[in-house]
Amino acid sequence: MKIINFCKVLILLTTFLVSTGFAQSNKILIINSDNSVFRYETIAIEFKKVLQQNAYQWIEFNLNSHVDAEVKLKQLILQENPEFIYCIGTKAYSLARNHAENRKLLFSAAINWRRLDVSEGTYGVANELSPAQEISLLRYFFPAIKNIGLLYNDKFSREYVETIKKDALALGINIVNQPINDAQEISEALNELLPKIELFWIISDPVVLSSKASVQQIFQSAKQQKKPVYAYSDVYIEQGAVMAISADLATIGRQSANLALMMDKDKVPEGTVQSPAGSTVTLNKCALDALQLGFNQDALDSVNKIVECGK
């Protein structure tokens, strides 16, 4: 009788542990490329907050804290046997891939993730907003703008520019794109491009942005022809971009965590790489006023930072 009762208790206990999330004790390894980098650390902090709320366990490995990081990482993976690995930054992802041994991988903050070696069992949150998100937000602020121009290098950015063109067309915006082979062609290309457009878009192209002089050339020409410049990052605000829209770092961390929780329950198709869900908007009122360019004032409640003249 006692044995039967013991078995009943054992069955009940097992059922309880399984149903109340014993599986949630799955260990996640977080590899941070460099936790002294603000953007990486912001993402990591938000990621851990969500894990904590959902009673998940994790271990952290900061690559910058170890001289022989790859050897130590390999040992740690063998020792801790994590269910899956979250990689913050390209370096973390590249190392993790070598030693993951069929574990699920999740990445974020990897610049241009399409260049990464991504295979089955890999998931991610991209570093850059999708062109459609950027164009939608651009339309929100500047609904009257219909022709946007950009420079790009065919080798590095052809696919990206094709996506921009397709997404823009769906929103009734015409993209006038001008390919360049090297930075020496910027001046001539801008002379041809700027008269045809109402706004110039700086995309993250390594040839167009190859030097400080190239960037200066863009802003100088745009200023001469009184054309506003929109950029993918707020580092260009100081130089005169009227607006910058980029991914919100804290949201990337939270989004990655939600993706991890869904991965754990096999609720996400393998190979899923999401665009960041949150955006950060910087508006340069000083540059807008100088160009006498109006914007949709109802969109002000979506601005994170306004730059006024002299501030």
């Binding site: 929100y140 939600n258 609720k267 869900a277 955006s279 601005v303 994170n304 306004i306």
Partner: protein
């Protein structure tokens, strides 16, 4: 002689102090916290409102990104003006905090709003939201509360199987559904109108699966036993749209104020 000087000095301090306190507005501060948005724009808000208010009576604006810190200021009952969401005001009133509405924010003539649970059209009932992500702007507590209201008692149990993704603003939440980062979004109804304007294709793909009750937009509240010094500050706030302050109000998602009858 020393005693005469001391008496004169004390009198001088008293008179100067009285004059200073009568002609300055130290202690008259507008405190702001809104759990219905998650935009980290506090520096911009502070600069814009301080610049305006200093030139309109020498008042100050203090935004908060933390509910507890904001509430600590309310509990101190300093006798200032508090800008907060009506949801938060009700929560404080339930805790017997003696706040009353002095002004309600308006947007395009309306003082009320309701929240919508939007999904793509293939999601036909809330049960399909089990094990999915719902995006929303604001504090997690606020989003949970709105979802709970929309789901109703019968479906409330679904909440534990829904992951909340906090994003900076309404438009991010709605676009997250369109671009596949979330299955549903909680947003103001007016934000869907914005989506219709900026991305009509995406707007057509969505539908409202549920709606919250209507509630006021941002409110300006004072303590029930209000101090006289608040009246001029409330008047300045009320007149902001006509007195070059509309742009500041738009940063808060409103375009004017209306006194409650």
């Amino acid at each position: 002689m020393k005693r005469v000087f001391s008496v004169f000095f004390i009198c001088f301090l008293f008179i100067a102090g009285s004059y200073w306190s009568a002609h300055s507005n130290t202690g008259s501060v507008i405190y702001f916290y809104n759990p219905e948005t998650n935009i980290n724009n506090f520096a911009t808000l502070k600069t814009a409102f301080d610049t305006y208010l200093v030139n309109h009576g020498g008042y100050y604006f203090q935004p908060f990104d933390n509910k507890e810190k904001f509430e600590a200021v309310v509990y101190e009952k300093k006798g200032d003006i508090y800008l907060l969401s009506s949801w938060h005001l009700k929560a404080l009133q339930q805790k017997n905090v003696p706040l009353k509405i002095a002004l309600v924010g308006t947007s395009k003539g309306s003082t009320m709003q309701r929240k919508v649970l939007s999904t793509k059209k293939d999601i036909v009932n809330v049960n399909m939201l089990k094990n999915t992500v719902v995006a929303g702007a604001g504090s997690e507590e606020y989003i949970q509360s709105v979802l709970k209201q929309i789901l109703g008692k019968e479906q409330e149990s679904l909440l534990k199987d829904i992951k909340i993704l906090i994003v900076p603003k309404d438009i991010d939440a709605i676009m997250a559904v369109g671009f596949g980062m979330a299955t549903a979004a909680i947003s103001a109804e007016s934000s869907l109108d914005k989506l219709a304007m900026i991305n009509p294709n995406q707007f057509r793909e969505l539908h409202g699966l549920g709606f919250s009750e209507k509630d006021y937009l941002l409110v300006a509240a004072t303590l029930k036993k209000s101090e006289q010094q608040e009246a001029p500050l409330l008047e300045i706030l009320r007149k902001m749209p006509e007195d070059a302050g509309e742009e500041n109000l738009k940063l808060l998602g409103i375009d004017g104020w209306r006194a409650l009858q």
